[in-house]
């Protein structure tokens, strides 16, 4: 009987210790995989940039072409349900690259397809891309205006 009581206390102590250490471990694991997955996506991007450069494109054109290629691949993988696995595995490593931006457009658009081509696909493509474009375009515009007046 007292043995059972001790094991109950041990269980509680153990749970306390687990609680203390588990979040920290998870953070380190998340960071590690974000680095690996994100780095790998950028490596693939570099591979495409080098290919397009060797085809005679300028640096700017090669960057744009490589980004577009990555977006195409990400849209395809999202459609096939593969990108969700990459994001679950890599966390921010799957979100931060431009492939994550493409994924954030396709995933809700697919989900709400039943609501039609205008309010379903058309609107939901911009659920996350909308805020991203608003903030990106506004910040860039504001920076340019500041440059114009104060440079």
């Amino acid at each position: 009987m007292s043995g059972a009581a001790i094991s109950e206390k041990q269980k509680q102590d153990y749970a306390k210790i687990v609680k203390q250490f588990k979040p920290a471990q998870r953070i380190w694991r998340n960071i590690f995989w974000a680095f690996i997955v994100g780095g790998f996506i950028c490596l693939i991007g570099q591979f495409f940039i080098n290919i397009f450069l060797s085809q005679g494109l300028s640096t700017k054109e090669a960057n744009s072409a490589a980004s577009s290629t990555l977006i195409f691949i990400a849209a395809l993988l999202t459609g096939l349900g593969v990108y969700d696995e990459i994001s679950r595995f890599g966390g921010a490593g799957g979100i931060v690259p431009i492939t994550g931006f493409a994924n954030s457009m396709v995933a809700p658009a697919m989900e709400y397809r039943a609501e039609g081509l205008i309010f379903g696909v058309g609107a939901k493509l911009f659920t996350i891309a909308g805020p991203v474009l608003v903030w990106g375009i506004f910040t860039a515009w504001a920076a340019a205006i500041l440059y114009y007046f104060f440079k």
Binding site: I31, C42, I98, S104, A109, M110, V132
Partner: protein, 118 residues
Amino acid sequence: MDYLLAFVVGGSICMIGQLLIDLTSYKFTSAHVLVTFVTAGAVISALGFYQPLVDLAGAGATVPLSGFGHLLAQGAINGATQKGIMGAFTGGVTAAAAGITAAVVFGYFAALIFKPRG
């Protein structure tokens, strides 16, 4: 060498995103991550610190969404320097046009062709 730099720098930028998700107490969603990166990229680019990173790491700096912010900011700033106020309005989106159009076109097709699972 360019592959190693792209991997390490790109991976490190994604690590910052993971820290934002894991270390903020409230719900920091992927939308927050993407908006933060595009905005931070545009600001850092306007201050002149992003181009050196692109020169160093190539895709490691251009593939993360901060690179998209850099593209928008440099386009708008170059537009403003060359064409004045109107350039500030046209330059950003012009520079990022390929990425935006690719995302809309491929995204639209993917959403039409594929059905969600689960």
